[in-house]
Structure formats: structure tokens, C-alpha cells
Amino acid sequence: MAFDNRDRRVFIKHKICRFCGDPSLKIDYKEPGTLAVFTSERGKIIPRRISGNCARHQRVLALAIKRARKIALLPFTTAKTKMKEYREF
């Protein structure tokens, strides 16, 4: 119904980029703790439309996450159970 859509719009919250809001927060590939906040449970990078990051910081963040993955600080994926199944064969 038309009214539903209108009601929903009211609750959309304006998101602010966390890194712009707090300059002391730094994006570093050596800090998996901060980066993990911006990845999903499966290890995927959370899109900007959901995390609310600005374009510049999202770009830097994505690079940092990819670097962290390369040196095994963050997972590429978390399909651990699947991997084990394969190994047993």
C-alpha cells in the first residue's frame, strides 16, 4: 500500500562515514580487528550502501582488507566445513 512506503521512508537513517567522523580511526591492513567490522560473517566486504562509508574511505578500506587477506589476517571465505568435507574424500 502507498501508505506503507511513505511510513518506511521516515525511518531511513542518514549514515555518516565512520572514518570521516573520527579521524583517529586509521585503516591499516595490519589491524584485522578494525577491518573485520566491515566484513560479513562470510568474510565479504560490506558494501558502502550498508556500512555508510564515504567513497574515499571505502576504497582505502577495500584495499586494506584485500592486503590483510593475502597475509592470512582475514579470511577470503569462511567455508571451513566444506573444505574439511572435501579433504576427507
Partner: protein, 124 residues
């Protein structure tokens, strides 16, 4: 000269002396190629996010150094050939740096860095 940062993971089953030997080997390599070591930061043993060569933990070492691009090439070749090293990653962190400025600064940064990264995983 450019500033680089190389993170590498050493086999966790090695004893402390062997780990040191690896560090010395690569820092000597950098020095031999006219590079300057800014700092060596050892994080210790950490759990890996995924298995690497059948290991689920590794000993992390971060080498911060300055040098010409050729140094990186040689260093990465050495790391690739060394069986004790599981993974490595080199990142450029500064262009046109003067190594003399950095050597003093490295010490200050080391203290801060240890606070941030000193989270070794407990042995199970």
C-alpha cells in the same frame, strides 16, 4: 629511496633461534643491497585466518625498510625460496624518503606499534 614494509610469516614450529636466524638473514640481505632497516617488529605467533601449507598458525614479522626497488625484488625472491617462510607481502609506504630521518623515528613508532599489534594468540 622508497620506504617499504614487508610482512612475512615464519613456520610456527621453529624455535626462537631459527626465527631470529630468518630475520637476520633478510635484514642482512637488505643491508647488503644498500637498504636501511627502519625497524623490525615481531608480532609473535598468531592464528592464521586460513590454512597455509597445512599450518593454522604462524609467526609474524614485519620489516620496515628503505631501499631502491631492486631490494624488494631480491628480498621477495629470497622469501619465496626459503622453506621456513609461509607467506609474505610487501607494501610501499613512502616515496622519496631520506633514510637518515627515519632511523631515529623508527624507535618511537615501535613503542606505539607494539601496543596495537602485540596480540599474540595463546597456545592451545
Amino acid at each position: 629511496m622508497k620506504r617499504y614494509e614487508t610482512t612475512y610469516i615464519v613456520n610456527p614450529n621453529l624455535d626462537a633461534d631459527s626465527v631470529k636466524e630468518v630475520t637476520v638473514k633478510f635484514s642482512d640481505l637488505i643491508k647488503r643491497l644498500k637498504g636501511y632497516i627502519v625497524r623490525v617488529n615481531e608480532w609473535g605467533k598468531r592464528k592464521l585466518a586460513y590454512e597455509v601449507k597445512r599450518f593454522d598458525r604462524g609467526y609474524y614479522v614485519v620489516l620496515d625498510f628503505c631501499g631502491l626497488p631492486g631490494v624488494v625484488q631480491e628480498l621477495e625472491r629470497g622469501l619465496k625460496l626459503d622453506d621456513r617462510v609461509l607467506l609474505y607481502l610487501t607494501v610501499k609506504i613512502g616515496e622519496d624518503v631520506d633514510p637518515k630521518d627515519l632511523i631515529g623515528k623508527g624507535q618511537e613508532k615501535e613503542d606505539k606499534a607494539e601496543e596495537n599489534h602485540g596480540e599474540p594468540v595463546e597456545e592451545k
